[in-house]
Symmetry: C2
Subunit: 88 residues, 2 copies
Amino acid sequence: MSLAQLEYFVAVAEEAHVGRAAQRLHIAQPPLSRQIRRLEDELGAPLFERTPRGMRLLPEGEVFLAHARAILRAVGDAQRAVRARHGV
Amino acid sequence: MSLAQLEYFVAVAEEAHVGRAAQRLHIAQPPLSRQIRRLEDELGAPLFERTPRGMRLLPEGEVFLAHARAILRAVGDAQRAVRARHGV
DNA sequence: TGAGGTTACGCCTATCGTAATAATG
DNA sequence: CATTATTACGATAGGCGTAACCTCA
């Protein structure tokens, strides 16, 4: 699992659409689709239901979304904390 | 910043020694040294003081260590949460 | 001068983008 | 049949390991 995968996952979850999430992330659709798949494989559980209209979060995905956001927030906190301390 | 870099950083902080940390991580010393440097560059602040005996955490490093551990713990929590939910 | 950290350099895996393919209402 | 996601495939970048180098008590 990588931080990029977490950012990708959050974007897809919020957009419910791989194409729109890819635009927002400034990457192409296929790599995004692949990374989501890899993440699901690694976790051993699907996170989305694929529909012809887009992606819908499964319950496992809802659970993971909260955790993913918390991790990304913690990363931002860590960066800010060091920079604040260094600024002193 | 990557999760691997965080694991590397925690290992070096705990061992206070790049060589021992590298052994523990099962990687060679140079890549570990490089990743620590890259992390410091990205954060814009040194995290260690280099001494002839090894590495000593600077105050910025102490601050970052707590955050790094929190992030890695959160990653483990996220994986467990999804797998527990999926197991149901 | 010895212990420890860092550069140089080459390889190799992983990720990306473009193009083509599959699936489904 | 149009929209969306996925697979194929080639190119590129990032990370690792070995070997050589630097630094300091």
